[in-house]
Symmetry: C2
Subunit: 392 residues, 2 copies
């Protein structure tokens, strides 16, 4: 059985080692369809954009209805490389197109790794040819390994329905501000869908998944999520099917996003932060992210310290108008704070509530009916070790 | 010779142990003047404000011209303690006033430590009496020790001029987002100055010092800076002297703020980030803070990795419109990035530039003439250790 991006029909993929990673591990992935694909993408909002981001945005704007392939290298981000870097991306797309027998504007390019180094093009071009020769309908697993950087495991997910399938893979890792490490995701489907509808579905799905592990506007130079639909199932998504398709796409995206969090650099705990009782969803998400990005909260959870004061404090500086006298806070099912003061909870209970690998924190703001959930991880010694020595 | 808050004439201070710290260390400080003082303060913008912050803001609004004393406890923040916490603060001020023979509205109260626990009032009241009995014109040193929490050393500074003196002390520590640990500072002067002028001078001084190690609006529940002027030198600060006085106050505040950074939790390196060539000072400060608060940059500096890509990336998501093609970046005097690409620098030189305990990073945005400097520290294993086990 095929997993990840090769779950949908008539997608093939491969992962090869072309020498970008000193370890000799897989470092170049190719995902290709035998048919033209509708394609939609979401890209970093960082003003310092890597060459492949600039290239893909331009290419996608011109050709969102007939994409054929995505080529991805790990080990080098091709960011802060100026015009020469952009030429390298173009050469990578050209070589992939030649190897696949399609046009260059039918190929998108993704890169992840160290910033500021040029791609070793000789290795890349050899790798592209090797990857094209190795394309396989069961290649989703290799592809998901070839895109890893500090990830400790590959991340794939798939939903095989009767009528059509959706499959995907992603890589991430840095998790203190989640999207400061490059997040790359490729999702494929054999549903038949017009590019504009696919774009609409993708934006809804991303907002409820990848954007809920991240701070808006606070992104790496390379962050990209692409979805390709090759129509091979023959099942068409019209407006009447768009709701169900969007839900399915959201489910795949949420699962992949949560896998990113669980594999956050040095993460020992997975933390779900649910804000309820907010005036609107945007307020709820803002408070949740303020807590999720508080290093003091994250280190306390790592240390097994149910330090609820840091959670309340982070809500207080979130920028949302909150009133501590109306707040209620739970660690697991232990209500630790209400009416502006700690409740008479037993410290042993609150400590037990955060002792496991999965932690649930709920903060009710007492202001309305809106809610939002954000996922994050703890901040550990290993996070510092990993990021202190990333390039060596 | 007296140091810190007792450098100016006719200020007395003390630091005693009243049992708030389990170690038996000094945990209650008193700073008092024999004369009524002009007083100005700057307080946290966090919407969750500790009881003493609420109390001091109200008291100062009514009585900024005749303050007599500041009483400070460490070990308990008296935050998230509701109305009972506010009553505890009031009782602390009352007891201090009785011990000193002044009115309660002539006493301000500061607290720092764990959030959400009530003050042990019996210990506090005994401590207040003990501190009042121990007031001394050389007590600035003890007072500066009694306000410490995770600080590894006391922080004092003084400028003794011919006409008047300024002295101060502060405590801080958490440094990943600098002001998420409580920052408390008390500055005294024997200059004679009207409360409104003192307030104006303080705001200028804070903006160039404590606000340059912090993110606006991103503050703890307790952050407070107070300045008291008792006029004992007889030297009056009128509008003609206000510029010089403001400069002197800024110098004291900057020195104290930099001591906070140098003693940041787990800090092994002091990092000055200078942004030049910005459109205006606000842009420059925003970019500088984005870099200063980037955990990836801070861990790289800790690890001795001159990972300039992370600096450029943090500038890119700062929210300021920047153009990487116009940027120039230096580690020490090594220009590592220009024209959108890395320069041909020697990696050994850039590594050497960040090998010491003091690191200087300069980023020119190539957009104008404005500049701003921000100070921060690195993010180390010890930061995680300290904050994972803070309450235990």
């Amino acid at each position: 059985m095929s997993i990840g991006v090769t779950t949908p029909k008539e997608f093939r993929a491969s992962g090869v080692a072309c020498g970008l990673k000193k370890t000799g591990a897989l470092d170049l992935a190719l995902v290709a369809s035998d048919h033209d694909c509708a394609c939609a993408g979401v890209f970093t909002t960082n003003q310092v954009k890597a060459a492949p981001v600039v290239y893909d945005q331009q290419t996608l704007a011109k050709n969102s209805g007939a994409m054929r392939a995505v080529v991805i290298n790990s080990g080098c981000a091709n960011a802060c490389t100026g015009e020469p870097g952009l030429a390298d991306t173009r050469a990578t797309a050209d070589a992939t197109a030649r190897a696949l027998g399609c046009r260059a504007d039918q190929v998108l390019v993704l890169s992840t790794g160290v910033i500021g180094q040029r791609l070793p093009m000789e290795k890349i071009l050899a790798g592209v040819n090797n990857a094209a020769q190795n394309l396989s309908p069961t290649g989703g697993a290799d592809a998901s390994r070839a895109i890893m950087t500090t990830d400790t495991r590959p991340k794939v997910y798939q939903l095989p329905f009767a009528n059509y399938s959706i499959g995907g893979m992603c890589k991430g890792a840095g998790m203190i501000h989640p999207n400061m490490a490059t997040m790359l995701a490729v999702i494929t489907t054999d549903a038949k869908i017009a590019p504009a509808r696919l774009d609409r579905a993708l934006r809804v799905a991303v907002n409820a998944s990848f954007n809920r592990i991240s701070v808006d506007g606070d992104m790496s130079t390379n962050d990209t999520l692409l979805v390709l639909a090759n129509g091979a199932s023959g099942y068409e998504i019209r407006d009447s099917e768009l709701g169900d398709f969007t839900n399915a796409l959201t489910q795949v995206a949420t699962n992949l996003a949560q896998q990113l969090v669980r594999d956050g650099e040095g993460a020992t705990k997975f933390v779900e932060i649910a804000i309820t009782g907010a005036r609107d969803e945007s307020d709820a998400a803002r408070v949740a992210k303020s807590i999720a990005n508080s290093p003091l909260t994250k280190t306390a959870l790592y240390g097994g310290d149910a330090n609820w004061g840091r959670v309340v404090c982070a809500a207080g500086y979130s920028g949302v108008a909150v009133d501590p006298a109306k707040m209620k806070l739970w660690f697991g099912d232990v209500n630790v704070f209400a009416n502006g003061t700690p409740t008479n909870f037993d410290e042993a209970d609150s400590t037990r509530a955060i002792a496991g690998a999965d932690i649930f924190i709920r903060l009710d703001l007492g202001q309305g009916d809106a809610r939002a959930t954000v996922w994050t991880c703890d901040l550990s010694h290993d996070y510092v070790t990993i990021n202190g020595k990333y390039r060596t």
